[in-house]
C-alpha cells in the first residue's frame, strides 16, 4: 500500500476550469502545497489531468500535516537539556 506525494508546482490560473477543479478535488490549494493520496487508478487519472502542474513521488507512508511542517523546519542549532 503506497501513496502518491503530489506537490503543486505551477498554478492553474488562466487554465480551463477543469484543471482548477481537479486540483481542488486533489486538495491542492496553493503552489508548493503537498497532498498524499493512495495509489489508485482514479487518483492516477486525476494526476494525468494536471500532469503539467504537479510533481509526483511514490512514498510508502503518508505524512500528517504536523510531520510535513516539521520536515520543512530547519535545524534550530541547539537542543534543550532540561526545562527550567
Amino acid at each position: 500500500m503506497s501513496y502518491f506525494r503530489i506537490t503543486l508546482i505551477r498554478s492553474a490560473i488562466g487554465l480551463p476550469r477543469r484543471s482548477s477543479d481537479v486540483l481542488k478535488a486533489l486538495g491542492l490549494k496553493r503552489r508548493m502545497g503537498v497532498v498524499f493520496h493512495r495509489v489508485t487508478p482514479s487518483v492516477a487519472g486525476q494526476i494525468m489531468k494536471v500532469k503539467e502542474l504537479v510533481e509526483v513521488e511514490e512514498v510508502e507512508k503518508a505524512m500528517t500535516k504536523a510531520e510535513l511542517h516539521m520536515s520543512r523546519k530547519p535545524d534550530p542549532g541547539y537542543y534543550v537539556e532540561s526545562r527550567a
Binding site: 502518491f4 495509489v39 494525468m48 500532469k51 509526483v56
Partner: protein, 107 residues
C-alpha cells in the same frame, strides 16, 4: 526629435517575438522532461500496486517522449494560417502549461 514608433503612437504595444530564444527552448525541454517524469512515476506506482489506468496507457501509446521528439515538434506547432504551416510554440496560449507534442495527421 520625435520618432513615430508604434508604441508611441498607439500606446500599449505587446509583441511576441517571431523566434523562441535559446533559454526558452532549454526551459521547454525541461518542462517536457518533467511531464515525462510525472507519467513514469504514476505508471510505475500503479504497476507496483497491480493497477492500470487508461489515461496513462493512452499517453504511452500516443505521445512521444522528450528525447524521441524532433526539434521541429518541440519548438514549433502546426498552424494552417502560417506559411509552411509552422509557427513558434511560444505563440500557443499558456504554452508553458499545456502538452503539445503531436501534429495533425499528414503534417
Amino acid at each position: 526629435m520625435f520618432k513615430p514608433t508604434s508604441s508611441l503612437l498607439g500606446g500599449l504595444l505587446w509583441k511576441t517575438p517571431w523566434r523562441i530564444s535559446q533559454p526558452q527552448k532549454a526551459r521547454q525541454r525541461k518542462r517536457l522532461r518533467s511531464v515525462d517524469r510525472v507519467v513514469d512515476t504514476v505508471s510505475a506506482a500503479l504497476q507496483r500496486n497491480g493497477y492500470e489506468a487508461k489515461a496513462v496507457q493512452r499517453w504511452y501509446a500516443e505521445m512521444p517522449r522528450e528525447e524521441e521528439m524532433l526539434p521541429k515538434d518541440k519548438y514549433t506547432i502546426f498552424d494552417k494560417k502560417e506559411r509552411k504551416y509552422r509557427k513558434g510554440i511560444h505563440k500557443l496560449p499558456k504554452w508553458t502549461r499545456v502538452s503539445q507534442r503531436v501534429n495533425p495527421p499528414g503534417f
